[in-house]
C-alpha cells in the first residue's frame, strides 16, 4: 500500500493550561534568581511539542533541565570572563572577539544539532549533520556579502540558509531534502517590498505629502505657523509609514514559509505544504502585540497559543504510504552549550513548525 494521505497538523494546547505553566515557570525562575529558567524552558518546549500532533502521533522534547542549566552556566561564565578581559586588557579582548566570531558557526551548528536530537516525532528522534564551513558561509559570510549588494541578494542568502538547515536534518535515518526555485524566494521578497513602497507611494499622494512639506518649509521661511492641514497630513504619513514597514516583515515571512515548506521533503516520498495567508498573519501578530502590551504581558500565553494554533492549521503533511516503519538511530551524547549560546543571543534555531 503506497497511497498518499494528507494530514493537517493539529495543535491541541490551549491558553488556560499554558497560562498556568507559564506563570509558574516565571515565579520559580524569579525566586531562584534565574536558575529554574532551564527547567522552565524544558517544560514549555515539552508542552508545545507534546501538543503538536500529526495523524494522531505527537512530537516530544527530551532535553533535561540539568543539561540546559549546565550549558547555560558554561556560557554565562564565558561571557563574564570575556567581559572582564575586555575591561582589563582591551587589546586581548579584541583578539578574543575575533576568535569568538569564528566560533559562532560551530556554536550555531551545535545548537541546531542539539535541538534536532532532543526532538522526536512518533517515537523517533531527529538528527542533524553539521558542516563548519557551510555554516560559516550561510550564517556569516553570505549575510555580510548581501549588505554589499544592498540586500538585493537576500533571497539567495535565505535559500542557502534553508537548504543548509533542512537538507542536513533527518528523521530517524530518513534524510530531509530541500529543492526550491529561487523565483519563489524573490517573489516573497518582491511582494514584501511592493507592499512597503506601494503603500508609501499611495499614502504620500493621498495625504498630499509634497504640498504639506513645501508648506511647512515656506512657513518656516516666512516666520508664520504652518497650516494645520499640513501638520495633520505629516502625522498621517507617519502612521502610514508604520503600516508600510512593519507588515512587510510578516508578508515576507508568510510567503517565505509557504515557499520553504513546498520545497521540503523527507526520504520515502513524504512532502509538505504551508498555506499561511499574509493578511491573516499580520492580523494575528498585530492584535497579539496590542493585547499583550495592554495587559503588561499577562496575555502572552494566549497570544503564543493562538499563533501556534494558526501556524499548525496552515501546515499539511502528505505521507507516501505510512509514517510507520521509520527507523531511529543510536544516540551519541550531545552538550547543550550551543543551545545556551543561541538562547543568550536570541537566535532562533528551533526545530519544528
Amino acid at each position: 500500500m503506497s497511497e498518499d494521505q494528507t494530514f493537517q497538523v493539529q495543535f491541541k494546547g490551549n491558553a488556560q493550561t499554558y497560562f498556568g505553566i507559564w506563570i509558574v515557570n516565571l515565579l520559580l525562575s524569579l525566586v531562584t534568581l534565574g536558575i529554574y529558567s532551564a527547567w522552565a524552558k524544558v517544560r514549555t518546549k515539552k508542552y508545545f511539542a507534546q501538543n503538536t500532533v500529526i495523524d494522531g502521533r505527537r512530537f516530544d522534547y527530551h532535553a533535561r533541565g540539568m543539561q540546559i542549566f549546565l550549558g547555560r552556566v558554561v556560557v554565562a561564565i564565558a561571557y563574564i570572563v570575556l567581559q572582564l578581559v575586555v575591561t582589563i586588557a582591551p587589546i586581548v579582548g579584541i583578539v578574543l572577539f575575533v576568535l569568538f566570531f569564528f566560533a559562532v558557526p560551530e556554536l550555531i551548528n551545535r545548537s541546531v544539532a542539539f535541538n534536532a536530537r532532543m526532538t522526536s516525532f512518533s517515537g523517533v528522534r531527529f538528527g542533524f549533520t553539521k558542516s563548519y564551513w557551510r555554516a560559516f558561509l550561510v550564517y556569516l559570510l553570505y549575510p555580510i556579502l548581501s549588505v554589499l549588494t544592498l540586500y538585493l541578494t537576500l533571497p539567495l542568502v535565505s535559500r542557502a540558509q534553508h537548504r543548509y538547515y533542512i537538507s542536513r536534518h533527518r528523521f530517524g535515518t530518513s534524510q530531509f531534502g530541500f529543492e526550491s526555485k529561487i523565483g519563489t524566494f524573490y517573489k516573497a521578497f518582491g511582494l514584501a517590498l511592493a507592499w512597503m513602497f506601494g503603500l508609501i507611494l499611495v499614502g504620500a499622494i493621498a495625504v498630499g505629502l509634497p504640498s504639506a512639506v513645501v508648506d511647512v518649509y515656506m512657513a518656516e521661511g516666512q516666520g508664520r505657523e504652518p497650516a494645520l492641514f499640513s501638520l495633520i497630513s505629516l502625522g498621517t504619513m507617519f502612521v502610514i509609514l508604520l503600516l508600510a514597514v512593519l507588515p512587510a516583515g510578516y508578508i515576507y515571512q508568510a510567503f517565505l514559509r509557504n515557499a520553504v515548506y513546498a520545497g521540503m521533503s523527507v526520504e520515502g516520498g513524504h512532502s509538505f505544504e504551508s498555506k499561511v495567508r499574509p493578511l491573516k498573519l499580520i492580523w494575528i501578530a498585530f492584535s497579539n502585540a496590542i493585547v499583550v502590551s495592554l495587559t503588561i504581558g499577562l496575555m502572552h500565553p494566549w497570544a503564543r497559543v493562538r499563533m501556534a494554533r494558526y501556524m499548525a492549521s496552515c501546515t499539511y503533511v502528505t505521507v507516501h504510504g505510512s509514517i510507520d516503519g521509520i527507523v531511529g538511530e543510536e544516540q551519541d551524547k550531545v552538550s547543550a552549550i550551543g543551545d545556551a549560546f543561541t538562547d543568550f543571543e536570541g537566535i532562533d534555531v528551533d526545530f519544528g513548525l
Binding site: 488556560q16 504581558g297 516503519g325 538562547d343
Partner: protein
C-alpha cells in the same frame, strides 16, 4: 500523599487506551494499559502482552497526555491522563501540575511574580552584586586600572603639560585628602596627570584607586579648596566601589533577562530591558550624590572649605550651561541640585 496514591493505584483495576511505540521505531501500535488480578501490563490490540510490570518513567505536563516508559523497549502515550493516574499513581512532579492548573490560586502566583520582580529589583540584584564583589580577587581590580589607563594613554590621552609647581600644588592637596579619605579597598590611591581635552576640566577614578586629573582642570580651577572637593569626590567613588557595582549590576541584569527572555515573550523582554536601563541611570545618579556627600566630609576633615565645590559647579553651569533638569535620562544629578546639596552639607560641617 505519595503513599495514598500508591495504595490507590495498587487497589485500582482498570484500563486506559493509547498508543505504544517500540524503541527507535516510528510504528504506532494501538495498545492498552491494563491492571487486573494478573497485575499491570501493556497489551497490544490482539491482547498480547508487550510488557508486564510498573513503568520506569511517568511524565505529564498539565493539560497534555500521559507519557510512560516501560523498560528500555517501550513507550506508551494516552490522552486519558486521569485514567492513567488511577492505574499507576501520580508522576513525581505532580505538585507542579497541581500548581499549574487553571484555578483562582493562580492569582496568588501572579501576585507573587510581581512581588518577585520587585524584590529582585530591590534586593536580589544587590545580593548578586555584593556576592560578585566579594568573589573578585583584588589582583583583577588592579589589572582593570592598569589595562584601562594603558588603553586610554594609547588612544585618548597625552602626557601632562602642567608646570612642576602646579603638579606639586595638586599633589599636596591630594596627600591631605588621601590621609582623610575612607580606606582604599584595593591598594593605595594613586594620582596621575594627563592632558585629555576631550573631557574638558575633569577628573576620574578607576576602581583600583587610580585617580586621573586633567590639565584643563588644574588650569581653569587652580583653587586648592575646589581641587580638594573634586579629589574627595573621586576617592569616594573608589572607596565605595561604585564602578564595580555598576559593572556587575549591568552584567547580572543582562544574564537574568537573557535567561527568562524565552519565557516572558518579546514585549515584556523589551519592557524589562528598557526599565533596567533607566534604573541603572538612577543608580548612577545615586552614586554621584553619595560621592558628593563623602567627598565633602573628606575635604572638610582635611582642612579645606567644602563649599568651594559648589563654586566649581556654578562656574561649570555658566561656561557650559546646565545639562538641564534632574531627569530620568542623565547619569549625573543636575548641577543646580548638586550646588544646593553641597551648600547645605558644607554649612553643616
Amino acid at each position: 500523599m505519595t503513599l495514598d496514591s500508591d495504595q490507590l493505584a495498587q487497589a485500582t483495576y482498570g484500563e486506559v487506551f493509547g498508543h505504544a511505540y517500540e524503541k527507535r521505531l516510528s510504528t504506532q501500535i494501538s495498545a492498552r494499559l491494563v491492571r487486573d488480578a494478573n497485575g499491570l501490563r501493556l497489551e497490544n490490540a490482539d491482547g498480547e502482552t508487550l510488557y508486564a510490570g510498573p513503568p520506569s518513567n511517568v511524565e505529564r505536563i498539565s493539560g497534555g497526555p500521559s507519557l510512560l516508559s516501560f523498560g528500555a523497549q517501550w513507550t506508551f502515550d494516552t490522552e486519558d491522563a486521569k485514567g492513567a493516574e488511577l492505574l499507576i499513581g501520580r508522576a513525581k512532579d505532580g505538585w507542579l501540575s497541581d500548581l499549574e492548573t487553571w484555578h483562582p490560586r493562580l492569582l496568588i502566583v501572579i501576585a507573587a511574580c510581581l512581588l518577585g520582580v520587585f524584590a529582585i529589583w530591590k534586593w536580589g540584584l544587590d545580593l548578586l552584586v555584593w556576592g560578585a564583589i566579594l568573589l573578585t580577587p583584588p589582583a583583577i581590580v588592579t589589572a582593570i586600572d592598569a589595562g584601562n589607563l594603558g588603553a586610554m594613554d594609547r588612544i585618548l590621552m597625552d602626557p601632562t603639560e602642567l608646570s612642576q609647581a602646579d603638579k606639586d600644588m595638586v599633589r599636596d592637596v591630594f596627600e591631605d585628602v588621601r590621609a582623610h579619605a575612607p580606606e582604599a579597598p584595593y591598594g593605595e590611591y594613586t594620582l596621575y596627570f594627563r592632558k585629555a581635552d576631550f573631557i574638558g576640566p575633569n577628573a576620574f577614578a578607576l576602581p583600583g584607586g587610580t585617580v586621573v586629573v586633567t590639565d584643563a582642570l588644574v588650569e581653569e580651577f587652580p583653587d586648592q579648596d575646589i581641587l580638594a572637593g573634586i579629589l574627595g569626590h573621586e576617592l569616594a567613588h573608589v572607596s565605595e566601589r561604585h564602578s564595580l557595582h555598576q559593572l556587575y549590576r549591568s552584567l547580572s541584569i543582562y544574564v537574568l533577562v537573557a535567561m527568562i527572555a524565552g519565557d516572558v515573550g518579546p514585549v515584556l523582554e523589551d519592557v524589562l530591558l528598557e526599565g533596567s536601563a533607566l534604573a541603572s541611570l538612577s543608580y548612577s545618579r545615586k552614586h554621584e550624590s553619595e560621592a558628593d556627600v563623602i567627598g565633602i566630609e573628606t575635604s572638610h576633615a582635611a582642612g579645606y572649605d567644602p563649599a568651594a565645590l559648589a563654586e566649581f559647579f556654578e562656574t561649570l553651569s555658566e561656561d557650559f550651561g546646565d545639562t538641564g533638569s534632574n531627569d530620568w535620562l542623565s547619569t549625573h544629578p543636575s548641577n543646580a541640585d548638586r550646588i544646593r546639596i553641597i551648600k547645605d552639607l558644607a554649612a553643616k560641617q
